[in-house]
């Protein structure tokens, strides 16, 4: 039996060609607790796919494709230049990033409702008139509890 990572009860969005590579990447993303880099996805996909490994370039192409089709969003962390991807689950999460150890902490509440914010700005900043806001990204940065402690007694 074809028992790899397939035949799970995952629902793949319709209207696109679902190759085994795409299913695999999709599943990896759906199980991820936080945004992943192409490299990480590449490794995780390799594990899932029993003995196969999918080409890294394919992973990149799949991610670009997913992004174009609105299935995933990409971002980068402060102080790091590699792009990370996460499934677009409708809602959104923001993070606090430690400038020292680079640890990231997910914030469970968003400090501003998109609509509210966009609205206020559309009215205040002339430059922003006509701009259609579809999303936002917020990042707090500073030092996590562990690193804050270290910085006091060096």
């Amino acid at each position: 039996m074809e028992g790899k990572f397939e035949n799970q009860e995952i629902q793949y969005p319709q209207g696109i060609k679902w190759t085994k590579q795409r299913k695999c990447v999709y599943q990896v993303l759906s199980e991820a607790a936080e945004p992943l880099s192409a490299q990480q996805i590449y490794l995780l996909s390799g594990e899932k796919a029993r003995q196969d490994t999918y080409a890294l370039s394919t992973i990149y192409r799949i991610l670009a494709f997913f992004e174009e089709n609105g299935l995933v969003n990409s971002t980068t962390w402060m102080g790091d230049d590699t792009v990370v991807y996460e499934l677009d689950r409708g809602g959104h999460t923001h993070y606090a990033v430690c400038l020292d150890c680079h640890r990231r902490i997910a914030l469970h509440s968003c400090p501003l409702s998109i609509g509210h914010f966009a609205h206020r700005h559309g009215e205040q900043d002339e430059e922003l008139s006509g701009f259609t806001v579809v999303g936002h990204k917020i990042e707090l940065y500073g030092y996590c509890s562990a690193c804050s402690a270290d910085r006091l007694k060096p």
Copy 2:
């Protein structure tokens, strides 16, 4: 006379070694209207320095040095992975980024005061307890007026 970009009335922060390359980069940044990439700074420095051109690797090292010493901040734009640098002028600016033409629009008002925001979060999210927030970054993304129009009638 040594008439290059030097002998202007620029005040260089004290306590560090001011080579001509560093002065030049510093001046380029102080004249910039928005964050610049290392490449851009490299080119602009080249122009300022009459006939000289400073090594690109030097520019990178200077920027890293400036950042460590709190003179500049670095970030990246949505949908672009090259790092950009701007002088730390105390205040901070946020941008709206067009996902289509990549044009950026500076927002002249910040939707949340750091203190206020950090405070509320430090109390609400348990994960954030002990985290010392030193700054934040907000990016709106969407489509600018020109591109919004294009998207309606393709």
